[in-house]
């Protein structure tokens, strides 16, 4: 039985991330700072982005030009993105100054940083599919950088259809998967102890 891939995966999961870690009801006493809320606020803003984005996707990219409701949902999407980046940047700086990669948490940091870069790409394609003057301008200006690297050969910022599909399908999926992995890693490793924390206070031998 232990040879089964399914059993191996389940055993590994249960060992590394039991449900008590995934949905904890306690946490280390040192987790007392406003900086800690920015991670969950980032996730909350992402949830708002996805929700408003799904509504926009159902109605199409030109809906908000002609409908007050559309404009409101587009505004929800827009401001959620703005908040998402503010929260994420504060979260990122906070984690940097906490050296939050300590204690085998390198991959937690790395997935967070990749999520940041993926977010920029996703937001960028969002600006390209606004179907307004701004997206005309951004696509004309941005093409040069991508073309200069040969990326424009397969990532054409002036192609509305391509950018729209990437914005509503591939990039959110990519960002979503990275985010889930990042959060699971946070839950698995726990919140990094304070710099200068005393091992002896926690019963760990010198």
């Amino acid at each position: 039985m232990s040879e089964m891939w399914t059993a191996k995966l389940r055993n590994k999961w249960q060992k590394n991330l039991p449900i008590e870690k995934l949905l904890p009801d306690d946490q280390p006493a040192y987790v007392v700072s406003w900086i800690y809320v920015f991670g969950v606020l980032t996730l909350a803003a992402l949830a708002m982005i996805i929700l408003s984005g799904i509504i926009l996707a159902f109605e199409g990219p030109a809906w908000y030009h002609i409908s007050d409701t559309g404009l409101f949902v587009n505004s929800l999407h827009f401001w959620s993105v703005q908040m998402f980046f503010v929260f994420m940047v504060v979260h990122l700086w906070g984690k940097y100054w906490m050296a939050a990669w300590r204690g085998n948490r390198f991959r937690t940091w790395a997935t967070g940083a990749v999520a940041f870069v993926a977010s920029i790409a996703t937001a960028f394609t969002g600006y390209l599919v606004q179907t307004n003057f701004d997206s005309q301008w951004i696509s004309f200006e941005a093409k040069d950088g991508f073309n200069a690297m040969g990326i424009g050969a397969f990532f054409n910022v002036t192609n509305l259809g391509q950018m729209l599909l990437l914005h509503v399908a591939f990039l959110p999926l990519l960002l979503g998967v990275i985010t889930v992995i990042h959060v699971l890693m946070v839950r698995r490793r726990g919140v990094v102890p304070p710099i200068d924390a005393e091992p002896l206070l926690s019963g760990v031998e010198r």
């Binding site: 708002m48 409101f72 100054w97 204690g103 073309n147 050969a153 192609n159 710099i195």
Partner: protein, 326 residues
């Protein structure tokens, strides 16, 4: 008290064995979503979101007919920005490079654009036109390539010599080129060019590359970008139209365009290839962000600059932990 690196690492990696406190992760998440939702709703109701109408060829030709006309001539003569761009649109230039890496050229022509035929002749051919334009079009189509090039280049040169002032252009052997440019200008003024450029004789279409490139060849789009404070040389990459915040997270990308040698096109090799160098630079910096935990110096700064003393003040105070010298 000092601890070995290994002991500290083992301590940081081990599950926390010290004091804990109650924590409701689901409640915290729900409150966060509610707060963000309220903030987004309030901002949306009060501020709305940007939606500046897109520019049209009709708007361009009506507001600045001469500039549109001159741009049309450049598309015919092959001297416009699009016609001389290089990859991925044509082979008119090698494009940008970073040292020995000519990625733009190596990527090839994946979105071929023939400015004279696709920007001018094909759209004109879709129209019911005056006898003069129909005759010019027939003359053009019947002429040899070298004849076409001679007509167009001669006219384009004459316009350049007259500093773009059409009334001052000397008479010459320009063949049907003036009539074609005038026909396209009239077509644009009537609004027909917007649809014709997009559809290119087809029905379904989702690619705006040709329209965007044609737009950028004239001054209409550029002037509108300047008016909206969107130019790259003035941090425009981070800006949005109207009173709205833009992509502020692109500040570092935008920063390089403000300083030498990146902001000087004459400066070789970096300024002349700024778009390529900045992409490489930002790629490396992004990689650096991911790898911060293993970069000497950068990874130690949080230990040396005691911002963490503020973050975990309560823990340090409660346990009487003083800052250690690094």
């Amino acid at each position: 008290m000092t601890f070995s690196k290994e002991a500290k690492h083992a301590f940081d990696a081990a599950p926390w064995a010290g004091k804990t406190k109650r924590y409701d992760i689901v409640k915290e998440g729900s409150i966060a979503v509610a707060l963000v939702a309220i903030a987004a709703i309030v901002l949306s109701l009060v501020m709305g979101s940007p939606d500046e109408k897109p520019l049209t060829f009709k708007g361009w030709a009506v507001s600045n007919a001469d500039n549109f006309y001159v741009t049309a001539v450049q598309e015919i003569a092959g001297t416009s920005g699009s016609a001389t761009y290089g990859g991925p649109y044509n082979k008119a230039s090698d494009g940008l490079n970073v040292g020995p890496f000519w990625l733009q050229k190596w990527a090839g022509v994946t979105h071929p654009i023939d400015t004279v035929n696709e920007f001018v002749i094909a759209p004109l051919s879709t129209q019911v036109m005056s006898t003069e334009i129909a005759s010019a079009l027939a003359t053009w189509k019947a002429a040899s390539d070298s004849q076409k090039q001679t007509w167009a280049a001669t006219y384009d040169d004459a316009i350049t010599k007259a500093d773009g002032k059409l009334a001052d252009v000397a008479a010459g052997a320009y063949g049907p080129v003036p009539a074609l440019a005038q026909g396209l200008t009239d077509m644009a003024k009537g609004g027909a060019l917007d649809a014709a450029l997009l559809s290119q004789g087809g029905f379904f279409q989702t690619d705006n590359t040709k329209q965007i490139l044609f737009f950028g060849d004239g001054s209409y789009l550029d002037d509108a970008g300047t008016t909206a404070n969107l130019q790259g040389g003035t941090w425009g990459m981070m800006n949005e139209t109207g009173r709205y915040p833009g992509q502020a997270w692109l500040w570092l990308y935008s920063f390089w365009y403000q300083i030498p040698p990146f902001n000087n096109e004459e400066s070789k090799p970096i300024g002349a290839n700024a778009d390529a160098y900045i992409m490489v630079l930002m790629g490396l910096l992004s990689l650096g962000l991911i790898l911060i935990p293993v970069i000497p110096g950068i990874k130690s700064l949080p230990m040396r600059i005691p911002i963490h003393r503020g973050i975990w003040r309560q823990y340090y105070d409660a346990n009487g932990i003083k800052r250690r010298k690094k």
